[in-house]
Amino acid sequence: MSGNDTTTLRWLLKKMRIRNDEQVNLIIFLQLYSLFLQPLTFFFSSEFLETMEDEVILLDFWPSMFGSRVRIALAEKGVKYEYKEEDLVNNKKSDLLLQMNPVHKTIPVLVHNGKPICESSIIVQYIDEVWKDKAPLLPSDPYQRAQAKFWVDYIDKKVNSPGRKTWCTKGEEQEAGKKEFVEIMKTLEEQLGEKPYFGGETFGFVDICLITYYCWFYSYEKFGKFSLEAECPKLIEWAKRCAQKESVFKTLPDEKKVFGFCIEMRKMFGLD
């Protein structure tokens, strides 16, 4: 507080009939405040809080098509994060995973400034809503958004189980899995139609949630003995188009590596 301030303040306090000794106390308090407390209010200002780095951690498992969705979404948004690999082959779930996802104990889990978000499609929507200034993943029109959410829900409900059967089972069960998987892919191909992406002109929510299966197709085809390209050529075209995007090709594991993983798993399950 400057000398002028103090003079003005004393004049004001005198007008308010505040006693001299109390005036002194008040002035000392105000001087201390302007020296120490007032500068601290900066740390609660939006300028400061915005410059603070977000702490983003992803708990994941490298072959997971669900974890990949989150990685692609983060890459699309240019978000820096710390990647933590869970040792799910040996079923060694970390304390952090059990703490952050006590309900399901599964990956992926996104931990944003200490708060966990679980379930990959929910995480991707969260990422879209938090980092909303770049690369929107969902359209802004409510009807288009509902369509996107519907198809992601369809993918979540339908694709994994038959896909898994093609590499993880034998005989009749495997055949049935293969047939169902192809049918579902055909439905999705029909939904894609002539559009470059499921969302239309731009890569979005539905594309992200389906493309992460692309690196698994090789394994499904090899073990299930079929060709997805022969059954759904337009879908494979779409997949190749998506795979040209940096966020996708830098995220998806190599399909041969995934195949190697399947071989290991089949041995563990006693299938080979």
């Binding site: 409510p142 958004r145 509902a146 829900d153 439905t187």
Partner: protein, 219 residues
Amino acid sequence: MAEEVKLLKTWSSLFGLRIVWALKLKGIQFDSIDEDLTNKSPLLLQYNPVYKKVPVLVHNGKSISESLVIIEYIDETWKQNPLLSQDPYEKAMARFWAKFGDDKVLSSIWSVFINQGKEQEEALQVAMENLKLLEENLKGKKFFGGEKIGFLDLALGWLANLICVLEELSDIKIIDKERFPLLLGWMQEFSQAPLINESWPPREKLLTKFQIMRENQSL
């Protein structure tokens, strides 16, 4: 242009009921069409070709399916009385627990209902564990949505009515006062809330329907 809102459902559909509540809470006029699922109408087949199931919302000729997707659509289209929080984290939590309700709670309670003896006891353990998580969610809150009914209340609303029906038919207490005081409190508040209470399907009809379903399951 006048809004044209149609809801395809059945008289007893739990998922259809969510949409009735959402539309009523928003004060939206709508036409309700009760489907006979043994004889699906051309309208249903046209508007939900993928699953051919109810509920389906048809808004100005455009159809939306899957009840939780429909509720979010309603919330985004008609902004009065918001059902979901604007905060992304709160939204994510509501979505997570709604999914948990559909994926885990509903099936675990159904298992208790259709099984007997040892299998029923095991199913009851699982159901109780799931319900415990919901009970924790209610700490310090009147509704799952806080002070007002929200998205998660509508998603879990089926609990407030169906539980009593199933408990009566299977002679088993699933949600008791000692273990789930908050859940019981919520069930009462929710089921008696205006607009919610007037929409419940007729209880006697529900009892009959579920009794038949139970018998068919054990055949």
